[in-house]
Symmetry: C2
Subunit: 501 residues, 2 copies
């Protein structure tokens, strides 16, 4: 085999895998957006077949041979080529450790799981969902053990989403957060609450909210020629290639703010995927590097841009134009305060910036317990509710608004939740760094967000997966990650809004 031959084998397999994942992603996207109810079974069969093809392509001895041949001749490769081989072998080791039948069975399980979760959530029926969740966690524990028999399975799983992340580091991170957020939240709750009642009691038609979505995506510079918008129960973003990204949202006719922040959040994910450097397209290095860095981008747009006073001042006139009767007499300042109201609540995706990390903490601790066996699946509702009582001081009235609210577990995204809190914290540190050279508020106020998106593209987006998350962050930030930027930001912002001393 020559280097050139090995590269051809590798490139050809990468192209095959990209095609298969595109097809699977498309089927799943359709399943979550427009597919008719009874289509799940047929989709499951097709996904199982395609995932078998992907498994075979990924574990093809010819591919492994080529990758290992190239790894042994690193000096003849460019830096991106080396990185691609490294990432491939790393991920492949995980997949290859799973017996094919289990791999395919897991794909089928996930496909079934989505419909079961939807149904269970609708009926607030945890018992109906429990067997699925048991199987999904059991599979992930098993897979982690196949891959790294001597490592705690949850460490393995955390590190799959965020290279190098461990329970020890995550515990420390959440410790730092709790120490600052819990007392801050107490002070906030002692103050008079923000009045957001003007939003409620009206109808914001879906049709008009769709136009609002178009406007918001345009403001945050999402290129709609490369980005579609779908409607789902639980919003998400999916990416097929650099020219084909899909965001989704869910319209609540009683309050347009839900979809507004879904759209900005998912738009942040989309921007990251849409701006990998052109030369990475078609390689394994295109697209976001980790879930946490992805969340840093989505939450950057959602919170540091979207919940800023400047942003609300920018978009409120258009919002009022779209909902003239519903928002008659309302000021931008009222809207700014309303979208920053901090208060313990039941639903993570609707949580404010301040309490959000506590929702994540609940899920992190539960996942940890499910992985190490200290929590049994049937105890989940009880434990979930107890943790909400403890951290957020709130009673969970039913599982629909409790343990059944998120799609992550049924989607197999186990170990993903910490990414949300880490992402927020990464984003806060990026904001601080960006402000050294960009007039962030000025850019937002002007309506031209390109100084902001330009910074993100230059320091984060264009690199795709070229660097591991921690290295990418240090290069962008000029120093190691430190959660204090996040807690400082929260303290400053909420002290100002709530008039704390």
């Amino acid at each position: 085999m020559t280097i050139q031959e090995a590269k051809t084998v590798f490139r050809d397999h990468v192209a095959q895998l990209k095609a298969l994942h595109h097809a699977m992603g498309m089927l799943s996207f359709d399943g979550a957006t427009t597919a008719p109810e009874e289509s799940a079974e047929g989709r499951g069969r097709t996904l199982a077949y395609l995932s078998g093809c992907a498994y075979r392509a990924e574990t093809d001895p010819a591919l492994m041979e080529a990758a290992k041949y190239l790894e042994a001749r690193k000096e003849a490769l460019s830096a991106p080529e080396r990185r691609e081989i490294e990432l491939f072998l790393r991920e492949n080791e995980y997949t290859a450790a799973i017996p094919q039948a289990e791999y395919v069975g897991y794909a089928e399980l996930l496909n079934r799981a989505d419909a079961v979760w939807h149904r269970a959530k609708l009926d607030s029926d945890f018992a109906g969902f429990a067997p699925i969740i048991r199987d999904i966690f059991a599979a992930n524990v098993r897979f982690a053990k196949y891959y790294k028999p001597d490592q705690a399975p949850y460490d393995t799983q955390l590190s799959r989403y965020e290279r190098g992340l461990t329970m020890e580091r995550t515990d420390a991170f959440f410790g730092a957060l709790k120490e600052r957020i819990v007392p801050l939240l107490k002070k906030v709750m002692a103050k008079p609450q923000i009045d957001d009642s003007f939003i409620w009691g009206k109808v914001y038609p879906t049709e008009v909210q769709r136009r609002f979505t178009d406007y918001l995506l345009q403001v945050i510079t999402v290129d709609r020629k490369r980005c579609g918008v779908g409607e789902t129960e639980h919003p998400f973003t999916t990416f097929f290639n650099k020219k084909d990204v899909r965001v989704t949202t869910h319209y609540h006719e009683e309050n347009p703010v839900y979809s507004m922040y879904s759209v900005i959040h998912e738009g942040g994910h989309a921007l990251y995927e849409l701006h990998s450097a052109d030369e990475l397209e078609g390689t394994l290095l295109s697209g976001g590097v980790s879930m946490s860095v992805h969340e840093s981008q989505s939450r950057f747009m959602e919170n540091y841009v979207g919940r800023s006073r400047a942003f609300i001042e920018l978009i409120f006139p258009r919002m009022q134009e779209l909902f003239p009767e519903q928002l008659a007499g309302v000021t931008a300042e009222q809207m700014y305060l309303a979208v920053n109201k901090a208060e313990p609540s039941l639903i993570r995706t609707e949580a404010d910036e301040l309490t959000y990390a506590l929702h994540v903490l609940v899920r992190y601790e539960i996942e940890k317990g499910l992985f190490d066996g200290s929590i049994a699946v049937e105890e989940l509702p009880r434990i979930w509710n107890a943790k909400y009582r403890e951290y957020l001081g709130i009673e969970v009235p039913d599982d629909r608004r409790g343990v059944l609210q998120d799609s992550h577990w049924s989607g197999g995204n186990v170990g993903y939740f910490p990414s949300y809190a880490l992402g927020s914290a990464y984003g806060a540190q990026m904001l601080a760094k960006m402000k050294e050279c960009v007039d962030v508020d000025g850019a937002i106020r002007s309506g031209d967000l390109r100084p902001i998106t330009g910074w993100l593209e230059e320091h984060i987006w264009k690199y795709g997966k070229l660097y591991d998350p921690m290295e990418l962050l240090e290069r962008a930030l000029g120093e190691p990650f430190d959660p204090k930027y996040f807690t400082d930001y929260l303290e400053e912002k909420f002290s100002r809004i709530y008039g704390l001393d």
Copy 2:
């Protein structure tokens, strides 16, 4: 090899092919409905890869060996198994005769073609579309010659859509139609025209039309748990399996009747696919047997049901409820006459029942000429316009409303058009037969269409592809196909509506 082993090989390959076609169909459906503009390139790569997989699966020597082994042991197979092997070998012969590179290249061509056609139609730019159409027809001529070197390529192509159809038979069919329809149309045109002006000059919001779509599909008994609705430039129906069918429509805000009949037409296709017998699911025998029989079902719903006085009386109250201001003071009788207005027009999909076959005739004669080389691609606009002048007495103002109006050629559906006219004629004969035992108007008037759909399910739908079209028709009709039922129907209906002697 044992019979059981051969069956397993065959079943396994059929399952693979179904999965691949499901994935490809999904990508194409998305491309036509919700995909962002610049996504075509990436979709093309994935479709090319999947179609290569399908080609390999379909021409796998192990599969051929198994199929031929089973064919040689027909006596050990059930009738449906025999039929499946027969259909497979028949279709496979066509595919296998095409070199793989050409097969994959053609899939890529079709994927590109769709975007080129959209653009060309928008700009009324035939020159931009001409190279694509040349390549598509050339490929189809080549493929037909690979398959049957001694047969006229267009005969080969016609027979792919409708087993046994030839130019000779199609010429005779259109001859019979022309002979009755052209004089009838002349008489109609000599009468005062129906006034449908009350429909125009108003806005029928897309959002409300969507609700109308839901209602119409419910009336014609389409099970929405198994049938999604998409929005496209050019309406079509696609089917992934018995529990997953998608219809599409296009909303014109100035006139709800366009989408209304698109929906009923596509709904007719959907019903056929949704009602193959359960035991055919997962085999090659599930779904409609031919394009003409498919069109007989869609046009049955659209015209024999949807344009009947009983149907309009049934649905008009709901229509008026949805569009109370737009249709204030209008009667069901006015609407009945409006949807049956017969008049030469430019656009096939908007043509009335009477002139429709003449639109098809134009396309048939052009395809014939493109196949035998008597028409060159660059002459198409001139010839198209001349034929519209000759058969319909109408001037074509631009190619957008002329030769560029249909998506069929860019979709590779070459030789398909005659199916529309044949389908209408088959449907008319089914209507006559059905009336021997079903009170068709009574069923429609009652709002419960199940006596009608029950007859169609019992005589057409449930059989899937078990019989060749002509055999299926003769079994259902009790006599051979005869176009006079269609021309009699047209003469009776339009004489009544226009008060002819």
